[in-house]
């Protein structure tokens, strides 16, 4: 998700090409081409410019609705409804061919990954592994991060693993129950934390961990645009 207010212009984008199965967008205002995954202009008058980053989460609708009951949902455009995908679109796409492949870390081209590019590094996590482990404590670059699976067992968020006033890296545990939305507990403060990364009890109640953007992507695409990526649990 990107901002589209750049260089004093509000850009309007069209899908206008493809770069190894990651699409290119063209903006109407300058004719520049932008890479979808990086938000960077790769050709045209704005070449080298970067779209402003906008944080987003990929969630199950039920989870999002419970968090944001006043939120609004994009409606189908009647003219195109016939072409919309089924809800298991990403799973069905796992059978589609790819034009590039990176046979590294024992991963297949269409393995679904959770990619994090932050703190001067990039790291990928096999989606199925994160779902199994439910809570992953790891580092991206030198920075500790948490990956947390939501109560629906499918949605994942990541956070910077830092709590003010707590020395070192706080240790989190998966909460046994799900009362009041508590998913985690931390050893340092004894607080309970919900899926939004906010303490809902304890002495730092109300404090929220810093969210870290996670991109759900196929391995071949993530690796192609993040050649220096490391992979969680793999050498």
């Amino acid at each position: 998700m990107w901002g589209r207010d750049v260089a004093g212009l509000r850009l309007t984008f069209h899908l206008a090409g493809i770069n190894n199965q990651n699409f290119l967008m063209r903006d109407e205002q300058t004719g520049s081409y932008w890479q979808q995954i990086s938000g960077k202009a790769v050709s045209g008058p704005l070449r080298g410019s970067q779209l402003p980053f906008v944080h987003s989460d990929e969630l199950n609708f039920g989870t999002w609705q419970a968090e944001e009951p006043q939120g609004t949902v994009l409606q189908d455009a009647a003219a195109y409804r016939f072409g919309y995908a089924r809800k298991d679109w990403d799973v069905r796409m796992q059978r589609a061919p790819t034009v590039i492949d990176f046979r590294e870390h024992g991963l297949k081209a269409r393995d679904l990954m959770l990619g994090i590019r932050a703190f001067g590094a990039s790291r990928a996590f096999l989606y199925d592994q994160v779902i199994r482990e439910k809570l992953v404590e790891d580092r991206v670059g030198a920075e500790p991060v948490l990956l947390v699976v939501g109560g629906d067992g499918q949605s994942v968020r990541a956070f910077r693993d830092r709590i003010p006033g707590v020395q070192g890296v706080p240790e989190f545990y998966r909460a046994s129950g799900n009362q009041m939305g508590a998913l985690l507990m931390d050893a340092a403060t004894g607080s309970e934390w919900n899926f939004q990364g906010c303490a809902i009890s304890g002495k730092i109640k109300g404090f929220c961990l810093e969210p870290v953007e996670v991109l759900k992507d196929y391995w071949f695409d993530w690796r192609n645009f993040n050649p220096a990526t490391t992979v969680y649990g793999r050498k």
Binding site: T12, F61, K87
Partner: protein
Amino acid sequence: MTNEAQRTQRISVAVLLTCLALSLICVVYPFYVIRPFRAQGARELPIALVVLRFRTAATLISGAAALAALVLYWRTQPGKWRRVFVTAGAAFVCVLAALARVNIYELMFHPDDRPSFAAASQTKLDKDEKVIAIKNGAVARAYPIRNISYHHVINDVLDKVGIVATY
């Protein structure tokens, strides 16, 4: 036929062939490089994008030059079939100039430029449907993936901030 007329014909044909070759490259090369289910090389893609950027102007100039060459040729060449052949060539350059204004991807994929939204409570989505969720201040929005994976690009405004949702 005078030497001057022969020279004019040769120049006209040379200009026409050059315009034809240039226009063909402008239309075919980006299409060849940037096509689905083909790996795009690190060198060829930037070249194809530069061609895309300048091809509208290049093919329009080619079209104008081809028409000028055609007029010169008609003035000096009385042969019917040669005239027809050269006219067809100039017409083809003009067709290529028109084709250069078309991006096949933009015909195939339709961005949703006027997205409409409804309250979550009034939306009939299964609980396990995937959405891309964003929040800016008190404004929260969800983009169902089965919808956005068709449009791929949603040009939207959230609390006065222009955003583009992609998938």
